[in-house]
Symmetry: D2
Subunit: 362 residues, 4 copies
């Protein structure tokens, strides 16, 4: 019941604030003898790293990860292998620049967790977002890089599918395109549209919401634990825990409200002696259990509340005021949420893989 | 990490299949000295009970709850009070009629959990939905009736807000109306529209999806436990665990993808010396912690896959076939999901109330 | 973190008071397709059942168990198999006789949990032990009967090894003898000694403590989860949770305080190409992980505080008084603790078997 | 269900191996606004630190703790306060000297966890104890220093009460004496006896077992959560998880096996209008719940298996051999277990304090 842990058998515990000396996490329950290196984890971290384009925060963080425990070489030249004991990962905070936030120390930023953290804990972290900062999500990505290796044959990919009013055209979807632009956009024709749109948002000092889609291939049928450890339930929990997320859906999601039974249920046939689905409205999950089809999840990311447009707010002392957030922030936090969403889905699947194996075996 | 338990400090464990002798649940962690009676729980159960109109399943279940432990009278005439020990609730299954389902024993129903339960457990419950049946949700409602009493001043209400293409008009929203129709509909002018629409769906032997909205008033600011016990995260988990749910959103939800920062962040002012929000786009939660505003959550319910329209499917033995589900089912399972959604939100809030009190006191 | 649940992957939740209508438990996480019947569970329950000799409580309870969920027959003549979903077990309370306890309603029994339950919950169960009664242990035995079947090749046996000053002679230990006397005594020559000794204790209206030993054979090497899910740690937790237990030890236990390193460490040799231990001071566990040798645990059971000898105490209202407990109780509660201890060890091992399989596979 | 975490609401997760770059822990769930400094934690760590006398390991570790998150100053001169978010603690390993262990890389040390870790994880940490090393207990002491501050008025003290055959005389018990000698010995007359005895053990290259006693004053009546979160159950779990512990007892412990009911039950009387116990055989716990009297727990520590006396063993490759452990080790590991035992009891009490407050309030 740890508030800062996620997962059960494969479990990540994160710690650290945006303006402290470091952030980190402990990954517990990882199976032994899985090869893993700092370099592999770094590859995923680099995809999330800030400051890579003008569309994400200009905070400069190398985000260099170190592994402090839980791996070893059996021989001096052998591969680094997990030992089955806790893996401790740490990233130093380099560019914390507390001063940028000095103007917000007294007032609560509208739409931000300043006021609720204060309501809960009775203490105000004036140095920035503190624990509520999206900086914490770097550790999710690092832990997710390990999680990806736990389920044999698993591939988890994500893409940005909507920015403000501009949604991708699914007929033009190319996974290869995702790595070629600054937006994790799978539709090449949408890239210039988003570029222009986000430049305008940025110049306005404003921000905009987005929708992210994550797809997992190679998920074994049977993963998921009804009634209260359903796979879709845990995915919803995982994705909703990401900063700024306000909605989650699986498969056809909210669109099923307008579907009739015969249009929603995925029919089955036999191919090569095995059951095959004729569609995937379910997004790979029925009754909380994986069907073996790709798992498809989407989540909505609200626009960040850290903007240059003045907003009405109040101070801790109970006075009305106006606020402008001058820190370095993202015009569209949905972009960097793509690798975070991938990591969270990978974490859910690694956990359920071990949970399923525990109850059912093999 | 129990698969059939929900919550941490206030915790419900459910058991039972649709066609066994009974279903039940154990509520653990309830504070002592809370007055509760079977009659109070029955009131909530009666709102969910099947067979109350032609728009819900015709299965006839009195759903009479019994409390087997965890409450006592201090004196012969005193009120029944919780003792702080586990509360065991049981409902006998009266009208299980296994025979109705005999035709589906061999084939998997498309869109249903038949096939995934079999993939997971290697055993086929030919008597009906077994553990995956929505009958299990009766116990959520029963446990939720207790949860409602744990948080002082809490009120949790729900309504059906969309059926197929027909959404309510929020300008005509009246909570009192919800209890006056067969749909938990808050918009009196929508009632005849849904009546006609669902009659047509029913005559077609089809089914239709829906959207449910749950609102909680009186939630103390500060509830919620970042980073991985966020209030919205746990609400997403709770609602996604309900049968047939494919999407969950909080506050403005998916609509935030199209909002700019200045339109989404709820501004603050001071009234009577206390901070007051000028809007509630956030749905009562910031950074995973309650703001003190009403909590607003919505979820999409897919159309049930148990329909009279023939669909292609396969048998356990690997043969192609066609299926029609002749059992008694709901044309719109979203209707009866309303009290279930209320119960799940109440359960989340009771748990977080105790968790917050544990860490913070007061 | 449920207070009335034990185990993680294989998990038991118990409910019920000694003087309510029934007691019960829910077993969650059991692997599917394990054959189990009410009759098998009943065999274990009958070993613990009260009223079988003059040395245990004269309360007459048939303790007839019913399984309400979680098992099914695939065909009308097929065996009852677990389905992988929660198994609900219930035993009705028949002979609750609240009146016997009417004299103790006002005063706290010294050495009993009356006063601490009241301190915790602020409510006094005047009908007897309520939730603190050893009657709850019937459900541990029932759940343990299922747990025994989860680990292939596992055998868990227990014996009473000391009653007051009279300890068994290990050179005369015969497991077959345990089922032949009223004490679960493995030493035939000790049986008449205990008979005379306990008759005297009973005539005095007094009670006496005891030591129970539980041995598990067939535990696979590797079970156990360092650092905080150590096998010995969880065994200590399991056995200490039994009513009236005040001490737990593994292998040589407290005697190791007087041993030198060379006398305590179990040496190893090779037989038939495999490592073999030359002794078992460790009781089958090193570093919290099973060695593959028999697991040996002992626990001390205090004398019951329900005796006919007057003792000084106080009332809820703060007055001094004297108390005699006239209810039907056990002169040596250690006797009936033997099957309970077996059950608890089986529950720990079933849980760890699934936990190990989850992380490691195979 | 994290294997390397302890506690529920107040929760510690430890990581790190004896020969890696660092060890550390994350303390989650700590209430906010508790003043804490690195210096305070260091005081406790220094009591456990190796190399302080010839009776403990000569490994030289400054054990300097750093706090990386979870505390802040509200003003530049204000006290460091907990924020309610995870507290990350790290200690660098300075003197790891892997070479000392090179001779044991191939053979399993009898009585040590080498062989069981290998059986479980299939990987051999040739650098020393790895994760099974008692070095991990430094983090328990660090986390315990925070735990001590969570329960108002709590005082947890420990003492060594037996070394080999030499037990302290309780009539000569002085808590002040504990800090004045190298053994945490409360009996001044026993100090020279143990000095001579341990010098002889050390010269023999052997080791010896011990018994530690921990006492907690100021524990509020009512802490503890029956049936499976009993206070004594969790204490047993906590103490049995310490390296080399083979037995745990509460109050009169194993001695109760020889007591009659009238001699074991603590009688009550009224003083100043409040109930007062006339004895404390129960060790402060009845029915798993604190009585308000001092909590008294003892545990037996086996002699370390790292000795200079040759012992028969086997290699990983299945060959018989003989082993002598030349590393720097403790003749009596029970000595340094005293502050570790205190920390574990403090951790249990902090957790139960929050759990009780969660369910009951106040």
């Amino acid at each position: 019941m740890s508030h800062n842990s996620f997962g059960h058998l494969f479990r990540m515990t994160t710690w650290g604030e945006s303006h402290g000396p470091a952030i980190g996490c402990v990954v517990d329950g990882c199976p032994p003898r899985i090869p893993i290196t700092e370099e592999e984890i770094q590859l995923d971290l680099d995809r999330r790293r800030p400051g890579q384009s003008r569309f994400t925060t200009q905070r400069r963080e190398p985000d260099q990860v170190r592994i402090l425990s839980g791996i070893m070489q059996e021989t001096p030249d052998g591969p680094w292998l997990t030992t089955g004991t806790p893996i401790s990962l740490v990233i130093e905070n380099v560019d914390q620049r507390s001063k940028d936030y000095s103007n917000i120390a007294g007032a609560y930023r509208p739409g931000h967790a300043d006021i609720t953290y204060d309501a809960k804990y009775g203490i105000r972290d004036h140095r920035g977002g503190g624990r509520s900062s999206a900086r914490e999500t770097a550790m999710r990505v690092a832990a997710g890089a390990i999680a990806r290796k736990v389920v044999p044959g698993l591939r988890v990919r994500g893409a940005l599918v909507q920015v403000g009013p501009h949604a991708v055209d699914r007929s033009r979807w190319h996974w290869d395109e995702v790595a070629r632009n600054d937006f994790f956009c799978p539709d090449p024709e949408m890239v210039p549209v988003w570029t222009d749109y986000l430049d305008a948002i940025r110049k306005d000092g404003s921000s905009i919401g987005a929708v992210v889609e994550i797809v997992a291939d190679g998920v074994p049928a049977g993963l998921g634990a009804p009634i209260y450890g359903k796979l879709d339930q845990d995915i919803a929990s995982a994705l909703m825990s990401i900063n700024a997320v306000k909605g989650v859906e699986i498969g056809d999601g909210f669109a099923t409200a307008m579907l009739r039974g015969e249009d929603n249920a995925d029919e089955l046939t036999i191919e090569d002696g095995r059951p095959v689905y004729l569609s995937n409205h379910a997004g790979g999950i029925l009754g909380g259990i994986a069907t073996g089809q790709p798992i498809v999840a989407r989540f909505a990311v609200k626009p960040t509340s850290s903007i240059l447009i003045p907003r009405r707010t109040v101070t801790r002392e109970g006075e009305e005021t106006e606020i402008v957030t001058k820190g370095r922030h993202d015009p569209c936090v949905g972009i960097r949420a793509v690798p975070v969403g991938e990591a969270m889905l990978a974490l859910v699947l690694a956990d359920h893989y071990l949970r399923h194996r525990g109850q059912i075996g093999a």
